[in-house]
């Protein structure tokens, strides 16, 4: 049975959380693409695609009875999926393949080149928005899966990707603070727990998943605080804002952990 929370159904919440995460994702993309000087016009693509996703997600939630808004959300969500996958290809080609040394310097480019998995976060936002659009239209499944299992599957994949990317970048940072291990602890257990719920759903698995997702949500906020602190460990801190925003840790990346956990919690409690 689908429940509501504060007057909104869970799919509307998923759409709003995906929109909020997209805004944060684009903020980090702006810092990264600005740092590289927008050398390719393709670097503007995520802002167009993500911007449209945010706008139509909000419109679809505000006007739940307007079928055109739902259709438009599906369209821009597919666009975000495509932009994310193409972006992944670009990051891979220009960030590793085309660089001097190429794959022989793989670890170096994984750490210091374009973040390999970052564009796929936009694809995940598209996937979440697609599920949300289907749910808001009263449909019950996607790709042969129910919408709730589909959300668990997307969350498991998204969290796994975020853990991998954080693992590489924290390795680059030499795990200089014990808190840098945090993304590899509770969120990893949440991924395993999501898969457990997918394969063998049971009340015990659901309770374990809920607890782990709450802790993952908190981990995201701890990460936001630590990244903010990270800016201030650099010379000048945020007083030299632009330089340190470009050279410091990605400001909003930890919020993705919190956002994915929030979507998972909606699936646990409201669907």
């Amino acid at each position: 049975m689908v429940k509501t929370f504060l007057g909104l159904n869970p799919f509307a919440w998923v759409a709003l959380v995906a929109a909020a995460m997209t805004v944060l994702l684009l903020a980090d993309a702006l810092a990264g693409h600005y740092r590289s000087g927008f050398v390719s016009r393709a670097q503007y693509a995520p802002f167009l695609s993500g911007g449209l996703l945010v706008v139509f997600a909000v419109i679809a939630v505000v006007m739940p009875d307007a079928s055109w808004a739902n259709t438009a959300l599906r369209g821009v969500a597919w666009g975000a999926v495509a932009a994310g996958i193409v972006g992944f290809g670009f990051h891979h080609y220009y960030g590793i393949t085309k660089k001097p040394g190429g794959y022989r310097w793989l670890l170096h480019y994984l750490m210091y080149g374009a973040p390999q998995l970052a564009p796929l976060a936009l694809a995940v936002m598209g996937a979440l928005s697609l599920i949300a659009a289907r749910g808001m239209a009263g449909e019950t499944g996607v790709a042969g899966l129910g919408l709730r299992p589909a959300l668990f599957a997307v969350i498991a994949v998204a969290l796994a990707g975020a853990i991998l990317q954080a693992g590489i970048l924290h390795y680059r940072g030499a795990f200089n603070n014990a808190a840098m291990y945090a993304p590899m602890t509770v969120p990893l257990l949440a991924v395993i727990s999501s898969l457990w719920v997918l394969v063998a759903p049971s009340p015990a698995a659901l309770i374990a998943l809920a607890i782990l997702l709450w802790l993952t949500l908190l981990t995201g906020f701890i990460g936001l605080g630590m990244h903010l602190r990270g800016f201030d460990r650099q010379m000048g801190g945020l007083y030299v804002a632009l330089f340190n925003l470009l050279e410091g840790p990605p400001a909003w990346a930890p919020a993705l952990f919190a956002g994915f956990a929030a979507v998972g919690l909606m699936a646990v409690y409201l669907l």
Binding site: F5, L6, W214, L217, L218, G220, F221, I222, L224, G225, M226, L228, R229, D232, R233, G237, L238, Y239, A241, A258
Partner: protein
């Protein structure tokens, strides 16, 4: 550092008062009071409602917490803008600042978590439990620690205010801190006071 001295006379009219309005005060230290007050009051209302069965206070506790979440978004945002304007070199104050910056989002995450919990209780018309009150107490403790760090930054290190406030006439930038008792006041201050009385 040369600070502006407070040199005007007594403010005697509304026009004079309006002329002194600068609106240059940093917003972050203002907004934190909303976060602290609303969150604390929500906990107090819920506790009173729980122990003395006052239903209306339970309702008020939810709404104060909901407003606290909204206010805290602005508190966080203005905190970042305050930091952008604050030149502070490496040292004790910067360490306080870093801890304050790290703890802020953690507190916000905890606040969102308890607010979601409180919203569910409100929607389902259930009262709060020992578990909820205990968790809120922990959130209030984190808020207290965060408030302490922020207070140190402003009142010990003068973050964002030290360069902006006007020096009162009895003090100069290199004077001693004011004494607490008249007998220990500096001689020139006592002379000034006697002169004023004559």
């Amino acid at each position: 550092m040369n600070r502006l001295m407070e040199s005007g006379g007594t403010v005697k009219s509304l026009r004079q008062a309006l002329g002194l309005i600068k609106l240059g005060a940093p917003l972050h230290p203002i907004l934190v009071h909303f976060t602290i007050a609303l969150t604390s009051v929500s906990l107090a209302f819920d506790a009173i409602s729980f122990f003395f069965s006052v239903a209306s206070l339970s309702e008020a506790a939810w709404w104060t917490l909901a407003v606290s979440v909204i206010a805290t978004m602005f508190t966080l945002a203005t905190g970042v803008t305050s930091r952008l304007r604050l030149a502070v070199e490496e040292g004790e104050a910067r360490s306080f600042l870093r801890a304050h910056m790290a703890l802020g989002p953690v507190f916000f995450g905890l606040l969102i978590g308890v607010s979601v919990w409180r919203a569910v209780l409100w929607e389902t018309e259930r009262g709060v439990s020992w578990w909820y009150l205990s968790t809120m107490a922990v959130v209030a403790l984190v808020m207290g620690a965060q408030g302490y760090l922020g207070g140190e930054l402003v009142y010990r290190y003068g973050a964002e205010v030290e360069r902006d406030y006007r020096e009162l006439p009895v003090r100069s930038a290199d004077s001693q801190a004011p004494a607490l008792t008249p007998s220990s006041l500096p001689a020139q201050v006592l002379a000034g006071r006697r002169g004023g009385a004559e």
